[in-house]
């Protein structure tokens, strides 16, 4: 892998499950240390795109490069050491938070290695502390709140020591307190470790606030409608065209980022 190359390059991707592709002709580059948010109406293929980007779903056409290397030529564990994904719904296994997070170290295990090393355990402790859920380590995953589960899932992704973090609606079903906790953590990690992030967000205001760059997917067509800074993408004209709903666009009083309200 080439550290100078963009962390991820999508090259004319066509992806989907059945006969007709959900997404067509998707091309973009994610630079190192960039936070990108994928936005678009329900069913526009945001989750599908995220799955394709980390190689869980094979693209029907086109190619993905991770640090300049073709994804198909990398082994699963090699990919997982560079790209980590937190999926939208987490299947809660009956295990402790620390055991769950420790699974994130699996890409570093060798085939004949059965037990975690001390470094793995330390990494888990450190990450739980970093996200402020160190006190939950020995709690069962199904006994903690939704927000805490989301944080644990992010912790599991972070112990993979990825350069790129893919998040699928990290704030869905969460109250505003937890929305802020999670997104501020992600912003902090991005600034502190230069972690690149691609996240799917439903809430356009959160996307505008936290992302450096937005990729707006066009619902039915399954193509990128436009991409660019929040100021460029979140405009009355673009949003009304894609979402087919009248909106008002204003400025956030503090950050100056575009801010959206439903209009009638």
């Amino acid at each position: 892998m080439n550290d100078q190359a963009p962390i991820l390059t999508a090259d004319h991707l066509y992806c989907g499950y059945g006969k007709t592709p959900v997404l067509k002709n998707i091309s973009f580059e994610a630079q190192n240390g960039e936070i990108i948010s994928i936005i678009g109406p329900n069913g526009s293929g945001k989750t599908t795109l995220l799955k394709t980007l980390c190689g869980v779903l094979k693209p029907r056409q086109g190619n993905i490069f991770i640090k300049g290397e073709e994804i198909g030529k990398l082994s699963r564990s090699r990919i997982s050491r560079t790209v980590a994904r937190v999926s939208q719904t987490i299947d809660m296994p009956p295990m402790t938070v620390s055991a769950y997070v420790l699974m994130g170290r699996l890409p570093y295990f060798k085939r004949y290695q059965f037990f975690e090393r001390k470094a793995d355990v330390d990494k888990v402790k450190e990450t739980l502390g970093l996200l402020g859920i160190g006190h939950l380590a020995e709690k069962s995953m199904d006994a903690i709140s939704g927000g805490q589960q989301q944080l644990a899932a992010i912790a599991r992704a972070l112990v993979q020591e990825p350069d790129l973090l893919l998040l699928d609606e990290p704030t869905s079903h969460l109250d505003i307190t937890h929305q802020a906790v999670i997104l501020n953590q992600i912003r902090r990690l991005n600034r502190k470790f230069n972690l690149s992030v691609i996240m799917v967000l439903h809430d356009l205001n959160l996307a505008s606030e936290y992302a450096h760059r937005l990729i707006l997917l066009n619902g039915k067509a399954g193509e990128v409608f436009c991409t660019g800074s929040p100021e460029h993408v979140i405009t009355k004209e673009y949003i009304e065209t894609v979402y087919k709903t009248p909106v008002l666009v204003d400025q956030h009083p503090r950050s100056g980022k575009p801010f959206i309200l439903l209009d009638g």
């Binding site: 997982s80 699974m103 993979q160």
Partner: protein, 336 residues
């Protein structure tokens, strides 16, 4: 986390090994010719050639070995399948794999493949039958995109029915001596005199254990779901293939030698899960050891309970297992 868990695991293993030794000792000295446990060392060291020596080494010992091998194999197959399908009700019997294996073995008896290939034809045909069914069940249950556990269990039960109907069809068209072989074999018994078959069974189940242990972490990751396992860097296609084939070998072996032994693969992993948790690093080895003890013990019960007559061991495991199955089913409902 860490040390204390490994110490617990070590104690569990020590306990299971001791349990297995105790059960084996009990099995060695139970039978129509009563041999007291205190006489056994004397017979082993000085009694070569005596009747008691022959009973111990030609009759009881092979039977115990077979009990260990098939009991371990079935429980291990159950633990592997429960992990792969993420469902505690899955086992070789409920998935119809045992049925497939038995159909394979019946075909073998009927078409006399063992005359051409030798004794290996039994385990081989069992394995092929098992592998066919496991592939079929898996393909049907993932057709909808993800593994639907209800569909899968129903599919398994239906395939089981189809297989037993086909076995009956084969019995109906077979000649009387073949019929007798099939009936005798289906009843499920550890009374096997062919040493080669016992050897194959022992080696096969230990090999299955070793292979599956290399994939215990993959099974742990798969417990989060297939996509999550991929996110964790697991080559799931390879893991699934290896584990399905291993489970088929284990089931095929035990069915071809011991006949259909119901539910052994369900009860043991379930109790292991309740006691040591669902980490496959301990679950696989623990299930193997506990399954070995369980089946050997069931066999002791089967051959003593209405002595001098002998019950098929499948009857004992079937009764215990059926009750446990219903219990697990109701408990699962209560939780969800």
């Amino acid at each position: 986390m860490g040390r204390s868990r490994f110490i617990t695991w070590a104690w569990v293993l020590v306990f299971l090994v001791i349990l297995l030794f105790v059960v084996c000792a009990v099995a060695l000295c139970t039978g129509s010719a009563g041999i007291a446990i205190k006489d056994i060392p004397g017979i082993i060291f000085h009694g070569r050639g005596s009747t008691d020596y022959n009973i111990l080494f030609k009759i009881r010992m092979p039977r115990i070995l077979l009990g260990i091998a098939t009991g371990g194999a079935l429980s291990l197959a159950g633990a592997i399948l429960q992990g792969l399908f993420r469902n505690p009700l899955v086992e070789p019997y409920t998935l119809g794999i045992s049925g497939g294996a038995s159909l394979g073995v019946c075909l073998n008896i009927l078409f006399k493949w063992h005359l051409i290939m030798g004794i290996i034809a039994y385990p081989l045909s069992g394995f092929l039958g098992a592998l066919t069914v496991i592939t079929l069940v898996y393909l049907i249950s993932i057709k909808t995109g993800m593994v639907k556990t209800d569909t899968m269990l129903l599919t398994g039960v239906m395939i089981s029915f189809v297989c037993s109907s086909l076995v009956m069809l084969l019995m109906a068209v077979s000649k009387s001596d073949e019929l007798q072989t099939i009936v005798f074999w289906i009843m499920g018994s550890l009374d096997e005199t062919n040493l080669t078959l016992i050897r194959i069974c022992c080696i096969g189940s230990v090999a299955g254990l070793i292979i599956s242990l290399f994939f215990c972490l993959d099974l742990n990751a798969l417990s989060l779901g297939e996509e999550e396992a991929m996110n964790l860097g697991i080559n799931i296609e390879l893991s699934k293939k290896v584990l399905f084939v291993t489970a088929s070998i284990l089931t095929g072996l035990s069915v071809s030698v011991g006949g259909i032994i119901m539910f052994a693969g369900l009860i043991v992993p379930h109790f292991m899960r309740m006691t040591v948790g669902s980490d496959h690093r301990i679950l696989l080895l623990g299930s193997f050891l506990a399954g070995a003890s369980f089946l050997t013990l069931c066999d002791v019960i089967a051959r003593t309970i209405i002595s001098p007559l002998e019950l098929p061991v499948g009857v004992i495991t079937g009764i215990i297992g059926g009750v446990v199955f219903i219990y697990v089913l109701t408990r699962k409902r209560a939780i969800s």
